[in-house]
Amino acid sequence: MSEQHARTAENEHHIVSPKTYLAILFALLLGTALTVLASYFDLGEWHIASGLTLFWNPVVALAIATCKATLVVLFFMHVKYSSRLTKLTVASGIFLFLVLIGMTLADYTSRAWGRW
């Protein structure tokens, strides 16, 4: 990965090389192909407990989507080369997104558990 310095300024501003971008592009396209391919197979399910079943297809699809998103964030959006503050901002966004979804879903899930 060749990194050039854009400005003579003191702060390090990385320029990601086109080669890296190209590699990421292919990785993303590969990921897309993989996830579409995976959706054609019934990957089955995992009965954790009665009434609680994990279907593998959604898990695989979301895992691949997360990998793709991570690549985009790290390289296309330069977070890999960014300050701690940027990383923290991204992390807090994701965290609160998960709080919103997780705690709301938790209420719905636990309603089915009945009174006690």
Binding site: L85, S92, G93, L96, V99, L100, M103, T104, A106, D107, Y108, S110, R111, W113, R115, W116
Partner: protein, 555 residues
């Protein structure tokens, strides 16, 4: 009280308002409407916010008048519903949320961190225009029939059963929400990136810390409200959606999404109030804030915990028992940082050298009323008592103690505190102290009876009520009249002081913040040269040395 004062005014015979300042820099309406100066935008905000406050206040007056008698004697039930809905919407989204941040925060944050302006001045102006656009739409909504959803837009009532201007009201809030997001975003960027040399995080005034916490809530919470109201609008227009059980939706989902914003919004409203109190208490007791770090981190703790407690608005609405437990527990935790702040402020007075100018009187009012408001919040956060007290006047009294007794008191404290900096002139001290006392008395008369009414079970949002509740309601309305006087007075004497107030000089309070070390009113670029921070916040000894130096150099 009058014997001791910290006010150090220049010799009025020779004192002049500096010729060059942000007000006189340019003339003409256009120079204000196209300004990118944070102080001018703050002024624009102050004017528009005051306007909406008095509209909301007039509506509150109508509510209290109607409740004077048990029957619907002044207005019909649907008019009453519109009046309290508009009162709520205007007060929450057009007064409380932007009050301290967009006016005082906008005015002082850049100066406090030693910057020339906010990081994104144009975005700042855009945020004011969005606020005005939202406000005008709200006035349009009001004049074309109003809206009677209450400020909470409860589905399926709002999506299906009402035929008032729900969509346009939701749109107003959406637009105003974006204004608030942009303000918060601007503050966060400014606090992170625009601090002057030497201004480390722990040298920041506590005002900035609290504002930072409030800004985080604005930036992260408001978009959820935006999407929720979008979905409400879509559901209303297309008659299909995720909130109305008649279409297979779930009204509790709306409650979840709405309160995900609207609980943190409560802290958006109160944290800036706490910000003001820290400054005022320290300045008028000539002492650094007791336990700076604790106060700073309690702001951040409130901001973080604020996002985990929203379902305590839904305890009786059929959320799962497990959720009720967890959210109740987290609610108890979020109450602790507020308690810490109150005691830290009280102990800031300890061994101080206190003078009792108007801002401090308002701050004392805040501390007392916010203690009651906060403690009654615990009544509602505890699941068992919440069942009896929720949705009654107890709730109304609770959040008015926090919002009016807390936030509005803090807002007035702040306005008086920074008025000399803002306009270069002092407000009249005696009459403003009188106004502060009137406000405090009127407030207690208005809202304390409502706790009793709530305990008796009087439901909120009732246009008519059983006759045995009348006595307390009459008390409340009588108090509201006093409160109204308390709010009218500042408008009058502050306007008066614009022309006739004593010249304030740079630092009439002998305060330590960077904003006081420059001229009043400040220059457009705030400082003649960027300051270098070489001392802690609230370092009164540094200030003394500084003044000795000046005297020496002049002499």
């Amino acid at each position: 009280m009058s014997a001791a004062t910290i006010v150090s005014l220049p010799d009025q015979a020779t004192a002049r308002i500096p010729k060059m300042n942000f007000i006189t820099k340019e003339n003409g309406l256009l120079s204000w409407l196209l300004t990118s100066d944070h102080k001018r935008i703050a002024t624009l905000y102050l004017i528009s916010i005051t306007f909406f406050f008095f509209i909301g206040g007039a509506l509150a007056g109508l509510i209290r008048l109607e409740l004077l008698t048990p029957q619907t004697s002044l207005m019909a039930a649907d008019t009453y519903n519109k009046v309290f809905s508009m009162h709520g919407l205007i007060m929450v989204f057009f007064f409380l949320v932007p009050s301290v941040p967009a006016t005082i925060g906008n005015f002082v944050i850049p100066m406090m961190v030693g910057a020339k302006d906010l990081a994104l001045p144009k975005i700042n102006l855009l945020s004011w225009y969005l606020y005005v656009l939202g406000g005008l739409m709200m006035l349009y909504t009001m004049s074309t029939g109003g809206v009677d959803t209450g400020w909470t837009f409860t589905t399926p009532l709002s999506t299906h059963y009402l035929n008032t201007n729900v969509v346009s009201a939701a749109l107003c809030v959406f637009v105003a929400g974006f204004s608030s997001i942009l303000t918060g975003l601007n503050f966060i960027v400014t606090i992170h990136k625009m601090r002057c040399p030497g201004m480390t995080w722990f040298r920041l005034p506590l005002f900035v810390w609290s504002m930072y916490a409030a800004s985080i809530l604005m930036v992260l919470g408001t978009p959820v409200l935006a999407i929720t109201l979008t979905l409400v609008g879509l559901e209303r227009i297309f008659h299909i959606g995720v909130f109305d059980p008649a279409f297979g939706g779930d009204p509790l989902l709306f409650q979840h999404l709405f309160w995900f914003y609207s609980h943190p919004a409560v802290y958006i409203m109160i944290l800036p109030g706490m910000a003001v109190i820290s400054e005022v208490v320290s300045t008028f007791s000539r002492k650094r804030v007791f336990g700076y770090t604790a106060v700073a981190f309690s702001s951040v703790a409130i901001a973080v915990f604020a996002f985990f407690v929203w379902a305590h608005h839904m305890f009786i609405m059929g959320i799962s028992n497990y959720s009720a437990l967890i959210f109740s527990l987290l609610t108890m935790l979020v109450a602790v940082p507020s308690a810490i702040k109150i005691f830290n402020w009280a102990f800031t007075l300890y061994k101080g050298s206190i003078t009792f100018e108007t801002p401090l009187l308002y701050a004392f009012g805040f501390m007392g009323l916010f203690t009651i408001g906060g403690m009654t919040g615990v009544f509602l956060g505890s699941t068992g008592t919440d069942i009896h007290l929720t949705e009654t006047y107890f709730i109304v009294a609770h959040f008015h103690f926090v919002m009016v007794g807390g936030m509005l008191m803090a807002f007035l404290a702040g306005i008086h505190f920074w008025w000399p900096k803002w306009t270069g002139r002092m407000y009249p001290e005696k009459i403003s102290q009188f106004a502060a006392v009137v406000t405090f008395i009127g407030f207690n008369f208005t809202f304390f009876p409502q706790f009793i009414l709530g305990t008796l079970g009087m439901p909120r949002r009732y246009a008519a009520y059983p006759p045995e509740f009348q006595a307390l309601n009459v008390f409340s309305t009588a108090g509201a009249t006093i409160l109204g006087v308390g709010y009218l007075l500042p408008i009058l004497y502050l306007t008066w002081s614009l022309k006739y107030g004593a010249i304030a000089g740079n630092n009439p309070w002998q305060a330590t913040g960077l904003e006081w070390q420059t001229q009043s009113p400040p220059l457009t670029e705030n400082f003649t040269e960027i300051p270098i921070m070489d001392h802690e916040a609230y370092d009164y000894e540094w200030l003394e040395r500084q003044q000795e130096k000046e005297v020496a150099s002049v002499g």
